[in-house]
Symmetry: C3
Subunit: 325 residues, 3 copies
């Protein structure tokens, strides 16, 4: 669809969150269609996980986003979907790859939302495709267990913080979940949640460096807990790490189903977003270093540095591999 | 209401689809109100058909759209509504007629969506008004039967198409039907469908001529099939004909109610949109000729030429009639 | 959240209605959460009244709106909420107070919408806080009875009105209430209604003075009647009074639940909005005087003058009090 002014920041760059939302909608459509392709209980595919996503080139207002999705692996209870986003300037005809994303969906019964249904198997062109898919499936399963354990942190407001400290840029946003945010099952679309997370992360990034910022990448996000219509969600973000040219922001989503007597507030999602700062000519600008004060902040900075170096090493390995072929 | 940036293209012209959506909302309100004006089963009026609509002058961001609707004929089971749209520049006070549209609605019971209720008859000021209305009613009834027959076509993607061929500009868009797209009965508003159709047609037109394009007219649209909440709709458009100053685009809407076991994908609506290309000063620009390759494309081009010449002849006849009075 | 192009007028000033909608959403969240904080019947807090609200400084596109809410008083069946809105330019870090608003909510049972539940009492830091709250509670109760009595007026269209008369600028807007306008109970959010009221009042103001106008204040609004999903609401506005630098506009909201057989059209809300006209440099411009023609218009002008002088006197008293401290 055509990118509109409301999809973009003041500099005309489309928000990463808008793109994530489009990706998730495409993934939800193709996997729901697949899971309903055989006679049996009707179901809706719910987002369980999004793999790490890089934003390769910015998209602008007036461009057309071409989103294509393909099912690349099925396990007994889950579907892996690959989504590609291309930006197309329809006046010049120029096309660029914006994103490639991998999402995992689980089919939930329309009649009983707590029942996970079986997924019809897909046919693979080659045996290796199935084996590689199985490997990705096992890897993400492990990773999901890990994040489940570190989900306990809370962000407190800081009075009169110094510039460039963690407390200075941390931000939060509250949203009441309405009907247009939800699937047929009455739960929030994963894409809606990711769009709000990107909005908060973007505010944190802009507060820190006070320039035009854009989403560079999003780490893998796991959706452990559904969020019900009528809930209030609090999305909080804090900066964890800065390199010379990038900022890492941790975002938490807490849900409060306050009209539901049976449970209290809970952590629904958390993720790391990486932002870069761009000059008017679209060149990356240097980032002011994050000032860490407490032990926890220093520890998180080191952990962020670890993730940053690991990603950098992975990218270099891929480039070498690509050069050899 | 006031036209906002999101209602318009980059050149500031409000999308024809936004105007069609406002027209349909006005029509749905007045006809639902009329059909509920007598004691009896409560109902919602569903759009059955929109007559050919010309966009007489463009509307811009910041202008106020004045929409007025009037019931002009009632048959036993349908209501004819005339809707007029005026654009008003509230700073200068200047007003211009943007559109005149004729819509047909059918009252469906709130309790049983497959039951068509009876329409309370309206009073006519003069007997001729009733007779003319009856004539329009019979004409559209015939026309609806015709379109029902030619609804079988499908658009396939083309690899590496040449510029200005049909395959070069053809486009499609997928949309998941959410609650805010639907009426109280859980079916998509006709106006929502028309807005999406105009969006796809506009992308086809811009891809073909790579300039600022605006909707000039929409041929009669028949809504044979309802689209249910939770369906996925695919809207596809391809260019069928170009004259020196206009492009005709055929748009199909296919619905896939994939959580509903009882039926597969079906063609819900199809229509022809005509676009013109405007210079920065708002003057019409010449259109690159459409290159037809297959027999089907050549046939559709000739059919489009027939519609173009027929419309031109009709307009000239009207102008002569007007000059004689 | 970040202010987007669609939240603002052409001059880049965020609509007062957008701010009122954010305020109401914050109030609804905090009071619903409070009323559900004790075990008992789950409920949704419905807006009963908004006290007079002044817009102290304009907010612009790209700024972040910080909304904070606090419960300041509870009676047996109602909650008073104070909401503060700050605008923050995240590039410069500059913050300004935009609004302070006081809202009253009433908890309605999720199971039976006509049942008003009891409100858990809050703890006060000092006894005087409770006494002052009780005074405010009694005052608003009286005021609500008063407005209930004057709710009978209707606005008729005028043919060919003279510039600067009441008929010249009066406007109305029709809206079909969809699911995204409604709370969990299926009734329109108070904030949605206020946003539409501000939109109509803004059109009246712009038609009268044909310049860039902004909301300066909103008088207390009482929500006597709920509006159900599927209703059609007509929002009408007419100018009642002009001073040298301000315009007062009266706005009515009429609801027509036309699929509900049991009741006809009724007056749901009414309120007075005050607008000022701003030059390109943001300075207030003189307002053309409203030309009153009928006896009713002259009476309303005098009443508006009374409200204007009363507000002016109150503000001067507050400033003197502030100067003495």
């Amino acid at each position: 669809r055509i990118m509109r002014p409301d999809d973009a920041n003041i500099a005309g760059n489309v928000h990463g969150g808008t793109i994530l939302k489009m990706i998730e909608e495409a993934g939800a459509i193709i996997s729901t269609r697949h899971c309903n392709s055989q006679a049996g209980e009707p179901c809706v595919a719910a987002l369980a996980r999004v793999e790490r996503t890089d934003f390769l080139s910015p998209m602008c207002i007036g461009e057309v986003a071409n989103v294509s999705a393909e099912i690349t692996y099925t396990s007994r209870h889950s579907v892996e979907v690959q989504v590609n986003v291309m930006s197309e300037n329809i006046l010049t005809g120029a096309k660029k790859v914006t994103n490639k994303a991998t999402l995992w969906y689980v089919p939930l019964s329309l009649k009983n939302v707590n029942k996970v249904l079986e997924v019809p198997p897909i046919q693979y062109a080659r045996k290796e495709q199935e084996d590689e898919g199985k490997k990705r499936y096992e890897e993400q399963k492990l990773d999901r267990l890990e994040t489940k354990q570190r989900n306990g942190d809370v962000i407190f407001p800081i009075i009169n913080p110094e510039p460039h400290t963690v407390g200075y840029s941390q931000s939060s946003l509250i949203h009441l979940v309405g009907p247009s945010d939800c699937t047929l099952l009455g739960f929030v679309h994963g894409g809606v949640t990711m769009k709000l997370m990107d909005e908060v992360a973007g505010i944190v990034a802009a507060r820190h460096c006070k320039t035009n910022i854009v989403t560079a990448s999003v780490d893998a996000i796991n959706f452990h807990e559904k969020i019900k219509k009528g809930s209030v969600i609090t999305i909080s973000g804090r900066m964890t790490f800065t390199s010379n040219k990038s900022m890492e922001i941790e975002v938490f989503v807490d849900a409060d189903p306050f009209v539901d007597e049976s449970r209290g507030r809970y952590r629904a999602v958390s993720a790391f977003f990486t932002y870069v700062s761009l000059s008017k000519e679209g060149k990356p600008l240097p980032i002011p270093q994050l000032l860490t004060e407490t032990e926890d902040e220093k520890r998180r900075f080191e952990e962020g540095k670890g993730r940053y170096l690991q990603t950098k090493a992975k990218r270099q390995a891929q480039m070498q591999q690509a050069a050899q072929h």
